[in-house]
């Protein structure tokens, strides 16, 4: 008998692994400005917490720069410590 066709209820989608890259290396940005509200919003989630590297894919060097500038922005009340619906 032909090998049993296993028909799935719906085709399994293989999670295609999106190649993560460090946006700073690619764009050639050298300095993360702590005063730039819009730019820092990209690295902070809705509650205002800093996004981890595995999510943003940034390299260690720039993740540290981002972290320090986010903390400086929080000190200057540009970014909230605990935000709600920041996006």
């Amino acid at each position: 008998m032909a090998e049993s066709e296993i028909r799935y209820l719906q085709p399994i989608n293989i999670e295609v692994k999106k190649e993560k890259y460090c946006r700073f290396k690619k764009a050639g940005i050298k300095y993360v400005d702590y005063k730039d509200y819009k730019f820092l919003l990209k690295f902070v989630n809705e509650q205002g917490k800093i996004l981890p590297r595995r999510v943003t894919g940034t390299s260690t060097k720039f993740q540290k720069k981002v972290a320090t500038s986010v903390k400086r922005a929080r000190h200057l009340a540009i970014l909230p410590y605990v935000g709600d619906m920041l996006k």
């Binding site: 050298k30 300095y31 702590y34 005063k35 400086r72 000190h75 200057l76 009340a77 909230p80 935000g83």
Partner: protein, 114 residues
């Protein structure tokens, strides 16, 4: 050996316009008096704070970029701390990339304005 610093400070919103100017000028005079050269001065006006400081929700943001010696900074911050109109301040030492970024920003602003 003078290094480049950038200070951002927030003034309480209850001040009238000339009080804000007066506060900014006495910071500038203090800098000049102690041999620091002010490279760039910027004011972002009244902005909403992300969280209330001393239960005020807005503040006048001022930015100063100046060149000074290292040991001057502690005197400068003591002066800022003494000024009770100041809600908050942050002094940052500028490294090579920061200086380049600030200059580029200023040129862009200059081009945009003229």
């Amino acid at each position: 050996m003078s290094t480049r610093y950038e200070t951002v400070f927030i003034l309480t919103p209850v001040l009238s316009d000339d009080q804000v100017k007066e506060a900014v000028t006495n910071v500038k005079d203090f800098l000049k008096k102690n041999g620091a050269t002010v490279k760039h001065q910027e004011s972002w006006g009244l902005k909403k704070l992300a969280y209330p400081i001393q239960n005020k929700s807005t503040g006048f943001y001022q930015l100063f970029e100046f060149e000074a010696d290292g040991d001057f900074i502690s005197k400068f911050e003591l002066e800022l701390k003494r000024d009770e109109r100041m809600l908050r301040f942050l002094t940052v030492k500028m490294n090579k990339n920061h200086i380049e970024f600030a200059e580029k920003q200023r040129n862009k602003a200059a081009e945009a304005s003229n």
